[in-house]
Each structure stands twice: as structure tokens, then as C-alpha cells.
Symmetry: C2
Subunit: 502 residues, 2 copies
Amino acid sequence: MTEKPNTLRLKRLGIDTHQEAIVYMRHDCLVCRAEGFSAQTRIRVANGTTSIIATLNLIAGDLLAYGEASLSEAAWTRLGVVDGGEVTVSHPRPLDSLSRVRAKVYGHRLNGEGLAEILQDVVDGRYSDIHLASFITACSAQRLDRDEMIALTRAMVDVGDRLDWGTSPVVDKHSVGGLPGNRTTPIIVAIVTACGLSMPKTSSRAITSPSGTADTMETMAPVDLDLDTMRHVVKKEGGCIIWGGAVRLSPADDILIRVERALELDSEGQLVASVLSKKAAAGSTHLVLDLPVGPTAKVRTEVDAETLGAHLMGVAEAFGLTTRVVRSDGSQPVGRGIGPALEARDVLAVLQGAPDAPLDLKDRAITLAGALLELGAAAPEGGGVDLADAALRDGRAWSKFQAICAAQGGMRELPTAAHTRPILAGRAGRIASIDNRRLAKAAKLAGAPDAKAAGLELHTHLGREVAKGEPLFTLHAETRGELVYALKYTENHTPIIRIGEG
Amino acid sequence: MTEKPNTLRLKRLGIDTHQEAIVYMRHDCLVCRAEGFSAQTRIRVANGTTSIIATLNLIAGDLLAYGEASLSEAAWTRLGVVDGGEVTVSHPRPLDSLSRVRAKVYGHRLNGEGLAEILQDVVDGRYSDIHLASFITACSAQRLDRDEMIALTRAMVDVGDRLDWGTSPVVDKHSVGGLPGNRTTPIIVAIVTACGLSMPKTSSRAITSPSGTADTMETMAPVDLDLDTMRHVVKKEGGCIIWGGAVRLSPADDILIRVERALELDSEGQLVASVLSKKAAAGSTHLVLDLPVGPTAKVRTEVDAETLGAHLMGVAEAFGLTTRVVRSDGSQPVGRGIGPALEARDVLAVLQGAPDAPLDLKDRAITLAGALLELGAAAPEGGGVDLADAALRDGRAWSKFQAICAAQGGMRELPTAAHTRPILAGRAGRIASIDNRRLAKAAKLAGAPDAKAAGLELHTHLGREVAKGEPLFTLHAETRGELVYALKYTENHTPIIRIGEG
């Protein structure tokens, strides 16, 4: 213990706990004893005027000397500390907003003030996983009504930054519940900006999938732009496709979504607030929402799509967002590639008008771009699809895409995988089903998304005839070890693609 | 990486995360890459045929060499591993029971089969904090009905050990929502066993309070007995007062209760299952339940006490437990001492019939012991209190208590604190209120419950007159530093005891 009360010297141990803030202290630390801290106590850790709330882990060995403490990597970054620097530790103020969560648990409605308090505590890192899970569960068990959805969306917008482009329309699109390979976004941005609309697009990286739109785009151009550079690109080219993590839009959503995923709970109210808070914060004015409907998609039935669509429209209206909902087929992967560079290859083929470009990806992009063009008044009602198709055919979209990539820092050459291996059809017949989850898993085991060239290439689709020995898909990996690993998984989980009678 | 796939060598880092199982692996570990593990992934860690589920933390520095892994202390113990030993890591099987939790979230009733699956996964350590919090929240938001309470209680009993004493009656008591200093248990066990009833009592240690019954008892005799020793003591003396942690009764309750506390959620259904699963597992047949009712107690109103009492009786009946509910005053601390040895001093004063023994503690013990004596047919209906009082007055209870302590390993001398400091009344007047929460905090800062002699001694009660300069309470600490620390807290949180007009 140093002379200053509750002050400890930091030693970096380099422990990565993902987002979770952990503070490590010696089990026989005098501060622990004095303050009554024990393992799992929530503690306020301050570096000057900056502070975070962290969970205490105690160290019994000699990793820390007397008077030393450490932080998990996430906490280290958030607190902006240096090795050897000092922090002070203390009890945090009581988590008063938890009484709002409890009221919701017991069936009371949440109002705007209550939601604002909860979301502020969430982005301040004051909610542990236990608190986050309880809030999310309460909002699923006691369904949010329309007013609560609007208030939640507003609270999520208010605790983050909000962009203002000083112009209208600013268009955006979102697909609810992604399908593997469904990389329409770069194509749509190219088409609608080529037709004069403004589309400053922020996308996410993969969390559990083999690639996110930002991962795919990153194989073609830099996506890690700060707000000033983003503004510069949008001013110059009318649009961009960047990673949303660098700009702080709806940061509460990033925190909540991880816990929702662990619970596989995805209530209507939270889905609506998640999607629309990002769009409202990004300064969008006109919005097309793609709802893929299918037995293994997020939205399973037309009835569900109807209800969800109505909520999305209602809440979007409260934020002054002009919105159109488009339902699409959610029964199988889109395009051929699964993995960052392999998906980019599909995107480029469509943009370049290559004869072998995947038609399904192209058709989806044109449909959604057409809706955006009509919504943003760049095309007459009913004329959006034709305009989108024309912009793609005459090369305007491709030129615009190249210009955007240049503005974002320069177009990149796609990496290719050193190791590939085709998986062959064991018999002749018709493709009866494709296991999307296992395909995604195989692509991840091959190294995607960290290994940009890794993943797999699909050679067939539902309902197609295949001959015995014809390749069904090809695994791509950057190292031999990863190829073997993905191959083993594929062999142990046959059939990922099921072949029925011809 | 060793030759065997997914095998890692263990290095003990000594990180105490309380109950949470964490596995530490290098961020550039080949197994992580191959399996697709990332920070916070839930991983199955196996030592031969024993396995646990742990959350992954990644180490960026040199704490671990290639091919090494580590475990949090809780995981280390549960897996029974040694430094340098090997473990294998893999993906756990899917957590299927989570679909039962989700069904409850969405308003479906839980049946016995569903609850059994959930509770099995809970005790197997397969639920992370996120999953536990969701289950607890769901059971509060979608109230458990009587049948669900019974099924939850049964599931909690079934996943642990169950004692059978081969005799009846086996009596027990429980106070719902403890008051500071309310250490009636050792007195009650002494009285009813002196009167011929069997009362094998397991108690808990403090988690957030300055002392649990097991902590207090431990200053008078060993409490850390295994099942065989416990049986021996009960056979010889008819009763015992031991720590319940050594025998595995309703282990799911220990896991759930920590999360309930963090959420400050304590639904009727979970409270009923928590109390009664422990009693049923302990082999009790006759049960007295003490419900202290007061504005800052767990049960706030007579109406709440009525409803809760009915559920407790109903579920107890389903397990064949003959039960009586006794309501008591829950408005202020009981006795004088707060802290292990100081509470033990009150207990001994009552048992020894000391003239200055705290009357409130004695009266409560006699009331509850009287109810148990009637319930267990050791006294006629209406004659329990007189018998209890007599057993206390004529020294039978004191003799029995000494015999029990001897059987548990020998009666101990109470430790006394080296440092004490009285806190004086700043003015004359009548005691208007006592802040139980802050009193408990001061006792903990003075070192309780780890420092057995530490805590505080109350010199007054609600409604009493005090003169200016008269001591209100005395702080007890084993070290000078802790005394100063508790003193500072007391000075900064004046008044803990509020004095009104005389």
C-alpha cells in the first residue's frame, strides 16, 4: 500500500476478457481488507478524473507485488492507463437504476426517464453481466409496448454520438438477421451513390459469423476510418462503407447484443431499438429494411414478418425516418463465397458485370437499391429497380465503388488462399438441404474472418442436380493446419449438403 | 501444443474469481485458433473423466508459455488438478436447457422435467452468470405458481445429497431474512435437544453480513465437520450446529443465491424453494419458520407475511414437512453483539443465565424453541414456551450446549479484540432510529467476520433515553489500522444511530 489511501501501482498482466472490466489485486492486499472487497466485488477504479467499474479477481500467487494491481485489457484501454501508473480504488455509488429494472421485472412499464438512467449506467460500464442479462430478460418476459420501444430507442441514441449530415435524404439499409454471404451492402452503396443519393454506411465486423460486412469490405479498402475522414469521403463521393466501431453510434447496443446472443433472446422490442438506434444515430433520414423470411432465418414466418415490420415502421416514424420494409427469401446462403475475401469476390463480380457473377446476390442488391432510389426520390415510384439495374450495367456503380475505395485510402488486391480443397458429392442427385450453421462453422475453422482469404466457396444451390464426384464446395485456408482442421470437421459432420434422389 | 490434440499443461496462476470457472490460455494458442475459441467463449475443460465448463480469458503477455493453460482457483479445485498436470479443452455440448428458460421468459409454465434439466446444468457449472441471471429474472417476471414452486424445490433437492436420519421427528428452524445479531439458532438447538428432540442443524457463513451462524458458532467450537463426524455428533448428543458447506445439501441454491443477491431479486418462489430444499435435503421432518416483519426487513408487511407463509406451508406439505410459521418483530437488531465472537458472547450469556443477558435474544429463542417443542411433541400444545424457559433456567440447555461443543471437537475460549473504541452520544435524547445497514458496514470494516473478535457492541435500543456523552456502541478490532478505518467510516456517516428529542 502506498502512502496515498487506496492507491495502487499498475502492472500489466495482459489478460483479455473481451469487453469485461476486471481488476486484479493481491488476496492479502490491505486495501481489500480495509474496504471489505472480496472476489467478484464490483469496484470503482479511477485514473485521475476518469473512472470505470470493474469486477475484482484476487491473486494468491506472486503475479502482483504488494501495492500492485492489474486490469483486464478492456479495462486498461477504457481507463487509458500505463504500466507503472497509479489508480485509486473505492466502492462505487449504488446502482440505483437497478430498481427500474426490478420494476419492469414485476410488470411495471418503463418510462423514458427510467430507460435513460438504465442505458447511461450500461454505457458507463456499471452493469455487470448479471445486471445486463436481467434487463434483457425482463424486456422479453414483460414485452415492450410501442411507447417503450420508442423510449428505449431514444435512450440508446442519447447515450452515444449522433451524426448530422446537414442534408436530406440520407439513405441507409439494414438486413434483419443476416444470411451467410448476403453482402449486398457494398453493391447497394455503389448503385445509389452513383445515382446521386447520399449513403454514409457504417457496418459491423463478424462476432460469431465467418465475416461481417466490414470484414468483407476491408479486403477491398481500408474501413477503419475516424469521423473526420468519414465525413471527407462522404462529402467527396456521396457515400462510404466503413466499420462502425470507430464512430461511437449507439454504444449501448454493442454491450447489450453480446448478452442477447449468449441468451439467444432477441425480443422484438430490443431488435427494433437495436436497428433503429444505430440508424437514427447515424443521421439517416430514409431507410430500407430487408426482412429475410425462412425456416432457419431470424424471422421464421410471414406473420412474424408482418408484426415486426409494423413495429419497425411505427418506431422509425417516431424518429422521423421514412422507412420501407422489403421481405425476401431467407431459405439459403446468398452468392458463392463465405469468408471475407471470397465474399468480396462475389461483390466485385456483380459490380464488374462478370458473366459468372452470382445472380441471387445481384438480384437482391438491385431490389433493395431500387427501393432506396424510390424512397430517396432519385427514381420515380416503380422505376427504382430499372435505374439500379442500369447503373450496374453501364458501369456507373463500378466506377463509383472504385472512387469510394480510393477515397477510403486506396483499393486493395484481394488475397487468395494458399491451400484449397474441394469437397465432392458422394452420389448423384438433387440438393435437398444445406446446413448453413455447419457451413459457417467450417469456414471459421478454415480461419475466417481473421484469415482474410479463408472460408469456402459454394458450387451449388438448393434444388440443383449434381453428378457423383462433382465438387459441392471448396475449402480455402491460409495455412495447411487450418485446412486440415476444417476438412476434419467437414468429414465428421457429413452431410453438410444433403443430396436427395435425382 | 503437445502431441495430443487439444491437450494443454497446467500452470497455477492463483487467480481467485470466487465461484466462477475461468480457463486462461495464450492469445496465440494453436488450440484457440483451431477450435475458434475467443475471449469469453465457454469451453469444456477435462481432467480424465471429470470435466467442467469454464469461460476463456486470453493472455497476451508471458504469464503462460506455449502449450500451457491455467484455471481460476474455483475451477482448479472443482477439476481436482495439479500444477504441471494436463487437461484437454473442447467445445461443450449445446446448453439445451436454455430453451426451457426461454419458454419461461415467454410465459410458458415450467414442468418438473424442465426444472430438473435446468438445475442439473446449474450444478454442473454449465450456466454462466448471464444464464443464471436470466433464469432468476424469468422466475420473478413470470411468477412461479404453487406447482412450479414444488417442482423447483424438488429439482434443487434432487441435484444434491439428501440426509436420512432414520428417525422422526427431526426438527429444524429457519429465519427468513436475517436481522443483525439474531443468533437464536445455537440457543434453540441446545434447548430442544436438551428436551429430547433431534436437531441436526447446518448453518451458513456470512456472505455480505458481519457474521453468519456458522461464523459465530465457530468461535465456540469447530463447525467444519464432514458427514460422518456430523452423524456421530447427532447420534451422541441429538443435535449439532455445523457449517452446511461441508455437506452438499441443495448445492444449486448456493449458486443461485449469489446471483439473486447481485440483482436484489428475491422472488417468493425462489425464496420458498431455497429455504425448503435445504430443509428437505437435510432430512428434517418438523420445521418452524421465523418471519421477522418490519419496514427494513426482507418481509415488509403483514400481508406479505401472510402470502409467503401460505406458500411455505403449502410447499412444505408437499414434502411431508410438518411446519409452523411464526411472525416476529423485524424492526431492529437483536442482542448486543455484531460480529462472530461478540454475538457468541450474547449466546453464551443467555445459555448461562447471566443477569445481563440480552432479553430480546432470549425471548426470541424461547418463542421459537417453544414452537419446535410443541411441533415435535416434546411439549403439550401451549406448553412449549414454559418448557423451553425451564430448560434454559435450570441449566439443562447450557449443559447440552457444552456437550455438543465437546462432541464437535471441543469448546473454545472466545477471542477478544485488542483495540476497542466507544462511540458517544453527541447529545441527550431518545433513540429515534438505528441504521442497520451502516452498523453492519462498520462491523465489517473493523474486520468481521474474518477477524473473529472484530465487530461492535450495541449499548442501546430504539426508544431508549441516552445522556450526552453516553456510549452508543463500541467498535472492536484486532488491529489498530482496522479500528481507525471503521472509526473513520463511522465519523463520516453520522448519525448511524439517530437521537431525537428526549
